[in-house]
């Protein structure tokens, strides 16, 4: 039996998937014939947890568990000799090099560099420009259309300044050139992997047979969060499998940035034997009921009569917080007071989630400060900070500029390392050195030799900085100077190995900065790996001489172009205890659930606004748009109908807001608090669609 199961969160769908997997194993199904796919790694973790629990009763077996993206990468790698030629690789007999987003951005940057002024009028920073150009290639691959359609789609949808059409054409030309570059050099970036998967591998007879043999039992979770080419794969697997459950969370489609397409997912219903609805009786879930009412108000015309009752009467479990507050901090204070009151009544802190469109450092800090007195912790699951923002990463980059032979030579020609950078690097390198003393040392060093870390003989400097640092400072200085003097040759260690050597010989030794700093060592390790993957991608594709790779890496890292790497966070920072603080979309895509939700900044438009992207468009570059276009063309009105109008944007926002509201409320068990202030964090006044809908619904 092949079942398409849809329903709201908390209706037992994922539990049913997990139970089915264990039941198949207990029934003696070959574990390697079971494929369990999820939209994200944490969600795939639920299958593993189920296996862990089943182990207690002796259940054995290892199904294939993972994400669609991992499966596509693995299968493209394995079947490469079958499809490399058809995909256009210059040498399909050579093993391809999988490259990550950082290396892709680097290659793209080389292509964009000579034409950067072509995009001046868009006023985009370089990282954002590269990000959007790459995003177009990703979207095309995930929806299953060619890069040569990008400009036509975006242009047909555009109704503004005609100069933009040129920019679309250039964006497409660059995407095509990037693709040619990858094919010529044997590089497989995310977009090419998925393009090959969808347009070549899925058509290959040998692959179809392989899937029919391997995927006899299929479990697909959160199918609505997957892109259309994943649905193509699921359709293929469903056609040959014995049993399957495909689960759709409704509402969903929050991973718009990764091509999530619920409409495409729903078309899979036709290839399943039955469609079942998982029911969670709504009358027992007052917040879910409120969510549906509020969502209906969002869609209703503005002049429609208000549902019109005060909070606390019709919706006793929904409370407005700080609605008369003028300032943002008062709103945060009201939220903190409410949390303290709730935990005082026995509610565990971990059952409470504070949600906002964006979670900036200042929000985390303010909330932490206000809860600390009550002994409550905050666990923030906001996106991690970029690796280069971490002091240890910055310190290691500065030390490399001071000592790595390939970089030190470049520094001599360029402006050099500043005193400020040296001081910060010293606080990382020498345990116990505070910023003030580091500044004394850096100043002293600059008086001896600017832009370096020379020996300091001035006793006055040591009297002020502390004699206890002298031995370690000199060890570091001597070590760096030995390296700097070494000529940059073919045997110079690449940056990743050089950093490892620095870590082993200096930084992890007693008294140095990372010897007892586990988090710092984790950041150093992440930096080493990132530099290595970057180097290997450049070496495999032969695009840059070995001696320039270190400088290229450091240059792009400090410009913010290599922003894909994030600093690792300890489990203890994101562990289970404490009040959860998360951006709305992170909460939804991570499928969190809470007894209590506190929504902050309900006046803000960030609840439904997309970040403005001049060169790309999630709806226009989707498969649903393609289907719509075909329909309009058949009706002879393609030109006019395909423009993306203000009205379309308004509808898309409304639709997203409705899904966000229902998605959040379905994940809230008991009580909902809505907090706002007249002025936002930066002092602006907002009255977004959510706030207006709340006025009418409450």
């Amino acid at each position: 039996m092949k079942v398409y199961l849809h329903g709201p969160p908390r209706s037992g769908k994922t539990a049913r998937l997990a139970a089915q997997m264990v039941e198949w194993l207990n029934r003696g199904v070959r574990p390697d014939h079971i494929l369990a796919l999820s939209a994200s790694r944490p969600q795939a973790g639920r299958f593993r947890e189920a296996l862990g629990r089943a182990a207690a009763t002796g259940s054995t077996g290892q199904p294939r568990i993972g994400t669609f993206y991992g499966l596509a990468q693995q299968h493209v790698g394995l079947f490469f000799p079958l499809v490399g030629q058809a995909a256009g690789f210059a040498d399909p007999r050579r093993e391809p090099a999988f490259i990550d987003v950082e290396a892709a951005q680097y290659f793209l940057n080389r292509i964009v560099e000579p034409r950067i002024t072509d995009f001046d009028e868009l006023r985009l920073t370089r990282p954002r420009l590269l990000g959007q150009l790459l995003d177009n290639a990703h979207k095309a691959a995930l929806a299953g259309f060619g890069l040569d359609e990008i400009a036509a789609r975006l242009s047909a949808a555009w109704s503004g300044d005609p100069r933009r059409l040129k920019a679309y054409q250039r964006a497409q030309d660059i995407a095509l050139e990037f693709r040619r570059f990858c094919l010529d050099r044997g590089a497989l970036d995310f977009s090419l992997q998925h393009d090959m998967f969808a347009r070549h591998l899925l058509q290959e007879t040998a692959y179809r047979k392989f899937i029919a043999g391997q995927c006899r039992y299929l479990l697909i979770d959160n199918v609505e969060e997957l892109p259309p080419i994943a649905h193509d794969f699921v359709r293929l697997a469903l056609s040959g499998c014995d049993e399957a459950i495909v689960v759709e969370d409704d509402p969903g489609g929050f991973r718009l940035f990764l091509g999530a397409d619920p409409a495409s997912a729903r078309r899979l219903r036709t290839v399943c034997d039955t469609v079942e609805e998982a029911v969670a009786p709504i009358q027992d879930r007052p917040i879910a009921m409120f969510g549906r009412t509020l969502a209906a108000v969002v869609a209703a015309p503005a002049e429609a009569p208000s549902a019109g009752r005060a909070a606390g009467s019709r919706w006793p479990r929904v409370t407005l917080l700080a609605s008369k507050s003028k300032f943002w901090v008062s709103m945060v204070q009201a939220a903190a007071d409410q949390i303290i009151a709730l935990t005082g009544q026995g509610m565990p802190a971990s059952a409470i989630a504070v949600l906002a469109p964006y979670v900036e450092d200042v929000l985390r800090f303010e909330l932490e400060e206000r809860l600390r007195g009550a002994g409550l912790r905050v666990r923030a699951v906001r996106p991690s900070r970029p690796l280069y923002d971490h002091p240890v990463a910055r310190g290691l980059v500065t030390l490399a500029r001071l000592g790595h032979p390939d970089l030190a030579a470049a520094e001599t020609r360029a402006a050099g390392v500043s005193t400020h950078e040296i001081a910060r690097a010293l606080t990382v390198a020498l345990a116990g050195l505070d910023p003030a003393r580091a500044k004394v040392l850096a100043d002293g060093a600059q008086r001896v030799e600017a832009g370096r870390l020379p020996m300091i003989s001035d006793k006055g400097v040591w009297d002020r900085a502390g004699m206890r640092f002298r031995e370690r400072y000199e060890a570091l200085s001597g070590w760096l100077s030995t390296w700097r003097m070494a000529e940059s040759t073919g045997s110079t260690p690449p940056l990743d190995v050089w950093w490892q050597t620095l870590f082993a010989e200096i930084l992890s030794q007693p008294g140095f900065g990372l010897a007892a700093d586990g988090d710092g060592a984790n950041v150093a390790d992440k930096l080493v790996r990132s530099a290595r993957v970057f180097r290997e991608a450049l070496q495999a594709t032969g695009v840059a001489p070995a001696q320039s790779i270190a400088a290229d890496y450091v240059g792009l890292l400090s410009e913010g172009v290599l922003a894909a790497q994030y600093a690792p966070e300890r489990e203890s920072e994101t562990g289970e205890d404490g009040v959860l603080l998360a951006p709305v979309y992170t909460y939804l895509t991570g499928d969190y659930r809470s007894q209590v939700q506190i929504w902050l900044d309900v006046n803000a438009s960030g609840w439904y606004d997309r970040i403005h992207q001049a060169l790309t468009h999630p709806y226009v570059l989707s498969r649903s748009w393609q289907a719509m276009q075909a329909r309009f063309e058949a009706e002879g009105q393609a030109d006019v109908a395909m423009q993306w109008s203000e009205e379309d944007e308004h509808r898309a926002r409304q639709d997203m807001l409705r899904r966000v509201i229902v998605g959040l409320c379905d994940r809230c068990g008991d009580r909902l608090y809505l907090a706002s202030s007249q002025l936002g964090l930066s002092g602006q006044e907002e009255a977004g669609a959510l706030a207006r809908a709340l006025q009418r619904a409450l």
Partner: protein, 293 residues
Amino acid sequence: MSATNRIPVKMGELDPGFVFSQHSLADYDACARRFYLRFIARQAWPMVEDGPEGLSAIDRQAYLRQGKTLHRWIERRLLGLPAGADSTESADAELVVWWERFLATDLSGLPARRTPELELACVVGGARLYARFDLLASDEDGRAVIVDWKTLRGQKPPSPAFFRDRLQTRVYLFALAAAGAPFNGGRPFDPARLSMRYWLANFPERPWVDVPYRRADYEVDRQRLTAMVSAIRARSGEAAFEKTERLQTCAMCDYRTLCARGSARGGVALEDAAIALDDAALLDDTDAPALDA
């Protein structure tokens, strides 16, 4: 300055869903603290990864890459796909030699049903124990051979006893006997019908080493693996995972500066280190979830 740096990790418990493997058990066998640092604290410690026998970090990385490529080519071959090695001019010379030796190897003595890259998990001491075979060759009458492609280098191959005793062998054979029924028509394999073969890419004069299995071995392995898993699960907190007393174990350990147990550079080459390096070629594939991007 204390002799040992303490890592300020708050949690000290093994994840309840933790999946054991030959790698994690080998770490525990070598040193309980190493197990703690790697699998509970998940502490990275980015030391230079030199290889044994003077292999530089860069050479080591290239060697690991070649090992991975060889595994991929063999997997393709076993699946009936073109291996991708037709263009040997773009491949590394040593890799080509390995590949040619593989092609020249007579595998006809192995049972006929071939399943490459097979993942298996059994239950030991209430926890899951994971294995990934390069190849399982089995037949209708319950005979099965686990095959492992090894690219380890050296003057001469390690002794048969070395292969017999290593944890990989014990875990793989035990896991197949304990959880292999779905691959044997629903009947558990009789341990006496199982064996493991290490194919040695660098020793053409002795292309493989076979390790037979017996029912008594199965019982011994069961007791040993259960005792190991139970002992690990019974420990709690950093202090419960003590440092090894065998100082030579620390010489090649990544954590040696953290534990104040050795110099910045790795120590002398050991036979065990050579094979550990060889295994590392598949470490990522083995312990990481197989399909995750």
